[in-house]
């Protein structure tokens, strides 16, 4: 498999968070356009694993590649210039508190407008479109995240990830803390990314409903390693 045939690749990656081992010399390959669901007990390090995979934190050892490009957490803009557009939705937080919902969504596009070939007007239009697509009402466009409910903040984060038209999208517990209506919006977007052959999707979740909806390759993070899992065993462990 050549580098360009790789959506996400971990090569002998080790990482510790404090005295907790998240990954221990783990190697893993995800082909472009495919979907991966990461499960695991609470506190096992699913979020940290996603940060590692997205190149947000440096690995203690080993190498992480996204779309064939090596990640360097100290220079995140390098990935964009190499054609890797990452979208990341955090479990909570992640929105800039001093920017409005609209400015949060527009920031990434505005910062890379020359790479994306966007004018200021199209940045604004696209930000408005993405917020509308996830059901954020117009009156919330100019509100700071601190003034918005958790559910709306999550939608804004989703819109921010969508705005850059990602070819690799990471979702960390995307429907946690959401009511059924909000969760359904998130599930629909995840399903559309799963069906989009140009998007490599990584979702960390333990929710059976979402796992069944996505029905994709699944691994469990346990004892510093990724163990392949199937839906049937996941169902039975959920029943237990």
């Amino acid at each position: 498999m050549s580098d360009t045939d790789v959506g996400l690749q971990l090569v002998d990656v080790s990482h510790c968070h404090g005295d907790r081992t998240i990954l221990s010399a783990e190697s893993f390959v995800l082909s472009p356009g495919s979907t991966l669901i990461v499960t695991g007990a609470n506190g096992v390090g699913k979020s940290t694993l996603l940060y590692l995979c997205a190149g947000l934190v440096p690995a203690d050892a080993g190498r992480v590649q996204l779309g064939g490009a090596s990640v360097d957490p100290s220079r995140p803009s390098d990935l964009i210039r190499q054609g890797v557009r990452c979208g990341f939705v955090f479990q909570q937080g992640g929105l800039l508190a001093n920017l409005s919902a609209l400015a949060n969504v527009a920031l990434g596009m505005r910062y890379h407008a020359d790479v994306f070939g966007l004018s200021e007007r199209s940045v604004e239009e696209r930000a408005r479109f993405c917020l509308g697509a996830v059901g954020v009402s117009r009156r919330d466009f100019h509100a700071l995240p601190g003034r918005l409910s958790f559910g709306i903040c999550k939608r804004v984060a989703l819109a921010r990830a969508m705005a850059v038209e990602p070819n690799i999208a990471f979702f960390d517990d995307p429907d946690a803390g959401l009511d059924r209506e909000n969760a359904s919006v998130v599930h629909d977007i995840l399903a559309s990314y799963r069906d989009d052959a140009s998007v490599t999707l990584v979702v960390a979740t333990n929710r059976l409903g979402l796992i069944e909806r996505l029905a994709s390759r699944m691994v469990e993070l346990r004892d510093g390693h990724l163990w392949e899992q199937d839906l049937a065993s996941r169902r039975s462990s959920a029943l237990v």
Partner: protein, 265 residues
Amino acid sequence: MLARLGRVGIDATSSWVAALLTLATAIGSVATPGVAGRRVARRVTLLQVFFTGVQGLPIVTATALIIGATFMLQLIVAAPGLPGEVVGQFLVAVVLRELAPLVTVIIVASRSGTAIATELGNMKANREVLGLAAMGIDPGRYIVLPRVIGVMAGVTVLTVYFAVLSLIGSVVVALALGAPSLLAVQHGVAATLSVVDLLLLSVKAGGGGLLVGWLCCHFGLAVRGSSTEVPTMTGRAVIGSVFGCVLYNFAVTVVYYGLSGSLVQ
């Protein structure tokens, strides 16, 4: 005991290496390509100049007037027979060359420095910095560099402003108390003041601004993940930058007088 000392030494060294790395990454980000990113960073820089330079004007105005007035009052009361020319020389040497850059940078450290360290600490704790990285935005370019440049520019302008206002404050007291002769003071100031003083003031103010901006960004970003660390890091940032500025101010003064030959006499 020796082991503890060694550990303290290692911790201090690694802390300084990390701080230098923060600055080096920010300076290195100047070379990062991307016109649009540069435009966004420039907007953040202008905002920082506004927060530090413009919003800091009222407190700097009041402090400069009071310090100038107090200094003149002390001279008149403690040394009543002092000639006006000498008073003018003292004003330049003490207020303009030393107090103006030092007091301004202390005001900025306590105003903008705390704001920067607290803001960045909270950004770190709320994963906003990770959020920026997730959008492909370099924190060095978007967060650190604009704040360092903004604080440097703000401190430099405020220092010159402080120097002028402190002179006005001292003149008002001299006029009110009737001694010493204003003309003689003016002669003393004019005879002592030179173009080099403007350079000295800029070096002290620019360097002080760099220290405040850099250290406050560094300690703010050193928060690991809990908002309870923010007050501790803010305290370290302000104390570190104020002490650093005092040392820097002293060093520049020594070098200045050393180069001008005054120390040899």
